[in-house]
């Protein structure tokens, strides 16, 4: 699909800026998102091309505004719901439950 992810040659993003001595992960949620994505990649409900496509289907404005692991999280949630492994309602309910506790 001609999504925002297909950005070779797109202008306007400015210089490449590299963080010095950058850590592998910047937050714990990134670690867990990385690991869950890789683990579910082996589960067998989808293949790597389906996983990439799930990230690509993010709304373009959101894709460009959000960070790399946010793309992964979006992709993982999308696939889990589409494959019927987790429901959107279950996700919302669990988030609400945890929000009340915090």
């Amino acid at each position: 699909m001609n999504g925002a992810h297909d950005m070779g040659g797109m202008d306007g993003f400015g210089p490449v800026v590299a963080e010095k001595n950058e850590p592998v992960f910047h937050a714990d949620w990134e670690r867990r998102t990385f690991a869950m994505t890789v683990a579910m990649g082996f589960y067998g409900a989808w293949n790597i091309d389906m996983a990439r496509h799930a990230r690509e289907r993010m709304e373009p404005g959101e894709y460009l505004r959000t960070s790399y692991y946010e793309h992964w999280l979006h992709g993982l949630e999308t696939l889990l719901v589409e494959k019927g492994l987790v429901s959107a309602e279950e996700l919302e309910a669990r988030r609400a439950e945890l929000a009340k506790k915090s």
Partner: protein
């Protein structure tokens, strides 16, 4: 049950995730051959970026037979076929005002290419 457990995780990582397939599929193109990228704009997953569609390049090397991502992502099959590094001159992609002495190599499948 999860496939990935504490015991299986390192061996599974080591085994890897190659997309190579053993199918004996003939290659459509040869190294050195001129090819043009098809102007395909599928709504589903594809790995032919927009910046090369319709452009002409040269087969640099044949990587062998691999899974075809477009059909694999759609769940319609692995459709084994050859993948090539295709060399595009910078000016072919970006026009005559682009610097000379810049080339882009893109890995492309048989189904993305026509002879040029």
């Amino acid at each position: 049950m999860p496939k990935l457990t504490a015991e299986t995780v390192l061996p599974i990582l080591r085994a890897g995730d190659s997309a190579r397939l053993p199918d004996d599929v003939p290659a459509k193109f040869k190294p050195g051959q001129s090819v043009r990228v098809r102007n395909l704009n599928p709504l589903g997953h594809t790995r032919a970026p927009r910046y090369i569609r319709g452009k002409t390049g040269r087969i640099d090397r044949d990587h062998g037979v691999m899974v075809f991502p477009d059909t694999n992502a759609a769940g319609t099959g692995k459709k084994p076929q050859h993948v090539y590094s295709v060399r595009f001159e910078g000016r072919e992609i970006w026009g005559p005002d682009a610097p000379s002495k810049e080339a882009i190599y893109v890995d492309l499948w048989d189904d993305y290419l026509d002879p040029a």
